[in-house]
Symmetry: C2
Amino acid sequence: MPVYTPPIEDMQYLLHDVLNVSQSDIPGYDDMDRDLTAAILGEAGKIAAEVLAPLNPVGDRQGCTLENGVVRTPEGFKAAYDQMREGGWNALDCDPEYGGQGMPYLLGSAVGEMFVSANMAFNMYLGLTHGAVNALASHASDAQKATYLPNMIEGRWTGTMNLTEPQCGTDLGLIRTKAEPQDDGTYRITGQKIWISAGEHDLSENIIHLVLAKIPGGPEGTKGISLFIVPKFMVNDDGSLGARNAVSCGGLEEKMGIHGNATCVMNYDGATGFLVGEPHQGLKAMFTMMNEARLGVGIQGHAQGAVAYQNAAAFARDRLQGRAVTGTQNPDGPADPIIVHPDVRRNLMHQKSLVEGARAFVFWGAMLIDRAHRKGDAEADALISLLTPVIKGFLTDKGFETTVLAQQTLGGSGFTREWGLEQFVRDARITMIYEGTNGIQSLDLVGRKLAANGGKPIMGFFDMVKTFIRDNEDVEGLKEPFLDPLKAASKDLQAAAMYFMERAAKSPDDALAGSYDFMHLFGHVCLGLMWAKMARTSLAALEQGAADPDFHRNKLATGRYYMARHLPATGLHLARIRSGGDTVMELSAEAF
Amino acid sequence: MPVYTPPIEDMQYLLHDVLNVSQSDIPGYDDMDRDLTAAILGEAGKIAAEVLAPLNPVGDRQGCTLENGVVRTPEGFKAAYDQMREGGWNALDCDPEYGGQGMPYLLGSAVGEMFVSANMAFNMYLGLTHGAVNALASHASDAQKATYLPNMIEGRWTGTMNLTEPQCGTDLGLIRTKAEPQDDGTYRITGQKIWISAGEHDLSENIIHLVLAKIPGGPEGTKGISLFIVPKFMVNDDGSLGARNAVSCGGLEEKMGIHGNATCVMNYDGATGFLVGEPHQGLKAMFTMMNEARLGVGIQGHAQGAVAYQNAAAFARDRLQGRAVTGTQNPDGPADPIIVHPDVRRNLMHQKSLVEGARAFVFWGAMLIDRAHRKGDAEADALISLLTPVIKGFLTDKGFETTVLAQQTLGGSGFTREWGLEQFVRDARITMIYEGTNGIQSLDLVGRKLAANGGKPIMGFFDMVKTFIRDNEDVEGLKEPFLDPLKAASKDLQAAAMYFMERAAKSPDDALAGSYDFMHLFGHVCLGLMWAKMARTSLAALEQGAADPDFHRNKLATGRYYMARHLPATGLHLARIRSGGDTVMELSAEAF
């Protein structure tokens, strides 16, 4: 069975040494001193390792079952859910007005990584509720907030998002679910939604579905979509639960992974729904939820890579096979541990440098969100909006890649159920698909975010990189291994951005054929920047005689690996982008 | 459910237009005219599409079961096996002396691709028998051949290879299975083998296990390994089956994929074994089997990519979602098929150019084997020996990558069981692991094959590329899109080879830390060469007014994609190789 060790030392390093959170001017950050975050991360890590991780293979094997409309989650999920709820883990960063703990999103993200590493399928029940809470907090009426938020934040009720229908996933303009206005101000919701994560289950007393539907007579396409609250059980005026609403689970999807989470066909048969916000403004509200969900999915991809890497490293230290080419390392054993072999190490360093770089990227992104929301910083808001598709697309691709590499470290054992690596691969795979496939993320990036506000956010990003390089050019040990490759990679990114700007209008196919590579190019520059920042931090720490010099030396070595072996990928991505759209678009559809 | 369309047109193109088989001087090739290969490929394709493909999801869902020592294969496997056997498909390229059809290995490989695309788990029962047949044909005594080969070639008996034990996979020197000589000249085999594919099942009357074991008192390590025949049922002098031997299946492995194939724990409890060849020479014999198995696994990886791609392309033509950015393409429908979107096409072109390039590489490799074996051509033998780890390692990595890309084309549908793409991903995954992990392939390539015979084989490869480029520089339409990038990629490969040669002795860690990238660099150059050859062929065909100009134009367009978007990866691999071993080896084992 796989193990999980919460990466608390690395998280503390990021929070306090790299990001210096308690010195930040973001409201609420001044409370986050080392002791507080150590206590919270420690407690969360304990639950992750001791409660959630052991349930991960159980959830995978048992899956969820549907019988007479009732969905049962795997053994132990309900008890674990209750424990999470009682500990207040559902509501760490939610609004205190409705019972949340009001902690920064950054801390919620750190805790989230641990929960997801330990048990991704389980944590989705919480994650979807969190997204629904945010959508309601931003768009619902005060009365609706009062009715739903306290119970959802407390975890007594959970939430879902209902977008997809059999004929429409990405293209929401094709939605057919109908919402007919009733005399009492409610709507009658009729239609079928598919792939609804946590759509039905036995963990909570009520399920609050957020449903996209069309009010007859409204505008065509996406402009005619409205958002509705459709509770599983109606809520009485006194807050107690009333009659069962006409919404039911019509089937569970059989799928590659995340078996512990119920993926439901949801049938709305004239269910009672409550309009959220204005009619026909549903997409905007759903995007509040979606943007958070995309960051959350980026964290999922990273978190699966992180736990897979841990297990690969542990295996490589233990498994005895062959002798080191430079001389026996374990003379008392029948063979050396496989970690002595250069190719095994290459694989592990590939994983490690991705995982730690991704964690820094997630933390930095989460801090931008706090800066945007808590301080109302428009620049931070624009930057995280630009980075959201990169965090989702790049970190899930790389997270999945990491699980595959980690599985490879185990050889044949990686393919067996017993060791659990193959589950990480299967679970991670969905992160590249849901909440907008990574192809869609790349379109969002190139087609929308890049040109947003006249290109100001990306220019701001380039300035930030340039300033960082300029300000640190004299730091000993930083320039050659870190700043020079970062500069080169950033130049590749600028060249690519320029290429798109020149072609966006006159030849959109050229730009869009390169969108996926651009997303990866951007992701690499972000991780390069993270590694350069971590290197500066660790060089300073060593200079100041840090108590744990080995930690910082290992950081620097891992960073040098990233810069030397991952970052040069920017050149390949740029070459592909510059090859344009012709070779991509030439064939007729029948020729495939 | 996924579909399978045998790629007969593409195979005929490779056999007759590109490789010109019937004009070859290889014995037996003169029979292979267009009509004969069309007939054979047509029949095999029919069985693949109609018999094997429908059983693929059945095998995945049901898996194999073990009860009271009896392993049952999934429903329909036995009937399909009998049909394959009756059609003589087990023995297409086996020795006619023992009942085989004596066809070239090349044709067997082409047919094999189709069978594996249709049902990889099923075809493994045949594939392992084929490998065992070859090992016996090369190393067994005449009496042993007479006893075992006819029944194995006929498919009444199947074969296995038994190497792995719990404490040893890659490092066979650690084998503990004992073979004690008996007075009657047989050996008493005792020990446990794990991960034995097709170790026990209900398809054949007998199972002939080839087992590596150590004769007590022999040399230490790999030099003390011998190879034994251990039949499930003893064979009487008259060829009839006798008593059950003391070998049994102790368990089935639960694994990520290939559920239709039984992966067995095999217990040898004083079983009767027959020595093959000389004592302590077992590894050599096993490598005969292994080398063929490695090529076969390369084909498996490619074949899973090929079928996954087909299904992705079909989905992308059908699924309506969104509108083309350059203007509506399907005005009568609610949306355009997703194949109009540049990023969907990029993904499909990525897959298609890999699949067709890989197929050409496999065919070329198979022809080298025929040249080596049928004509006794030492140069061809040395070249295929060099290329074997590349075919295994690169084509399985790329085959798996293709299945993942194809799954992505389907979005959420790709993650569901129903569409079958996720099975291709899970099945393909093992190809990167078994018969020597791809890391081991890269060590074989850099540590052994590269320097073999003073580097003559790789020099021969470079000469071949150079000659091809020089001979075709004046072909219109070839130079800029094909020859120039091939030349650049080949230069990268030479630079990498030079780097290793300089460092092999004094700094082996530098060389080995780059071995995996070298394997990929080499693979890309091979596929680049294949595409350049296909381009030359198709340009000539167009010039000569070929009957199907669209086929050739599509080939050229697909090739241009490969050269523009895949091949530049050689620069990245070279940069990684040149970064050396320091960043790879620096950390202590505890720092991971």
